[in-house]
Symmetry: C2
Subunit: 244 residues, 2 copies
DNA sequence: CGGCTTCTTGATCAAGGTCAACCTTTGTGG
DNA sequence: CCACAAAGGTTGACCTTGATCAAGAAGCCG
């Protein structure tokens, strides 16, 4: 097994974590199995029974897709560095969503079977985990509501701002720019639109000088304007995400 | 304070609960504040900062609505007897959804501030709570995916079957019938459709002999047919919901 | 060069939204 | 007991949004 202490984890060094006590850190180190690197577009976790693993995203982007019986799919969440993935599957024992890498990605793999023990020994950490769970639920609610009521422009505007915000609190966005590796087809999956219509709507945004999206970089040129289209205020999202 | 032990709670007597240990039961009894009855169409919990209360639905239906900035709203969840509401708000400290009674309703009000202590003292119950949280997330995922990809008929067919299933595992549905107090407008809110289109789609269902919906009673006349339209298999949902 | 993938743009079409009329049931005050 | 209003539901006519189909354009390698 590769020896690398959690103390000098990239994420921790960047202050991306909730401050952990000595005990917590020790426990997390025990949960930790290995660190893996995966290419782009690979399935990290499949649907069905849980494999008992949790993943912390160290670097790169991933997505959670809900697969439907008729072979359609929908991107229910975008996973960014610092995010924890696979909690759902570990708590319910099974899941109907898969996790896919959107870029080449580096993951820290944790042993999910130790979760019950974690709850027993580290109630504060457990509380933080439930908070994460609840925050995810709130993102889902917003996502549903947008799909149900908002038009194409509003959905996309919101998506851009939300991702930008989430990156920003993690220190992964610059002034008005952030990495943005999603292709048109993936934006379409996330927004519940067709690829063609995403393309059209982005053309509008471009014409109106709202954003510039090229070379996997998103530049927000007119935040006010974009926010006006999104109509929803961005929810506060915590910068301390991870458990590792 | 009204004295009524949790031991002889209606829900517990109906076996709607996860079996609790003596300690757990004692703790829950301590969380319990009061039982209230609210008329139809009332706001039980508002958006914004959490009021620190949790609710177990004893009798009647409620809904969780996500309110959008432009005054549109979307029903993100239907809450049935045995469901626990308000966990989100208590864990994140604030919420952007409101809980509204769809029928006259009876609730058991619990003290949310005791949650951290619960985690400390009752890890197993805590684990069960997180499971609930994760299950809710899965329902949300499915909901999103349906809104993003499915047409009106599929959304409604799924909604009927899902609610029927949830009632059934709680012993609240009969052979092919269950109570169903939702109005057209509410179905529309839940399915992300207009009231008019719900009406039309239900007319189809009626013509095709799939369901009969009248007097707040849903009768499923052709389960096969309905399931075929819904296309998604119903997820397993646990019968033991509540914490009270 | 030709063969990928990604993006763009045009033309057509269908699902569902909106507006409006009307029907039924239920409740209410005279 | 009737008149009337209010709420929920149904149906028709029309229009908007976005899906689908199809054809290019623009990079990016082998």
């Amino acid at each position: 097994m590769i020896e690398m202490s959690c103390d000098d984890c990239v994420l921790r060094r960047k202050g991306m974590f909730r401050p952990l006590t000595q005990d917590e850190l020790k426990f997390v180190a025990r949960m930790r199995r290995r660190q893996i690197t995966v290419g782009q577009g690979k399935i990290i976790a499949n649907a069905g029974a849980s494999n008992g693993e949790l993943y912390t995203i160290v670097e790169g982007w991933a997505a959670r897709y809900r697969l439907m019986a008729d072979n359609t799919r929908h991107m229910v969440d975008v996973l960014l560095p610092g995010d924890l993935a696979g909690l759902q599957a570990n708590l319910t024992g099974r899941t109907n969503s898969i996790i896919v890498s959107l870029t080449p990605i580096r993951l820290c793999v944790l042993e999910g079977k130790l979760l019950p023990q974690l709850m027993r020994e580290l109630p504060d950490l457990c509380m933080a985990l439930m908070g994460l769970c609840a925050e995810g639920q709130q993102r889902s609610d917003t996502h549903s509501a947008l799909l149900a009521t908002a038009g194409a422009a509003q959905r996309l505007a919101f998506l851009f701002l939300q991702i930008f915000e989430r990156l920003k609190v993690r220190g992964l966005a610059y002034d008005t720019m952030c990495p943005f590796p999603l292709r048109r087809a993936q934006l379409a999956d996330a927004a519940g639109l067709s690829e063609v219509h995403v393309s059209r709507t982005l053309a509008e945004f471009r014409r109106d000088g709202l954003i510039h999206l090229a070379d996997n970089i998103l530049m927000i040129r007119d935040r006010q304007g974009l926010a006006k289209i999104a109509a929803e205020p961005m929810p506060v999202c915590s910068g301390n995400q991870a458990l590792l």
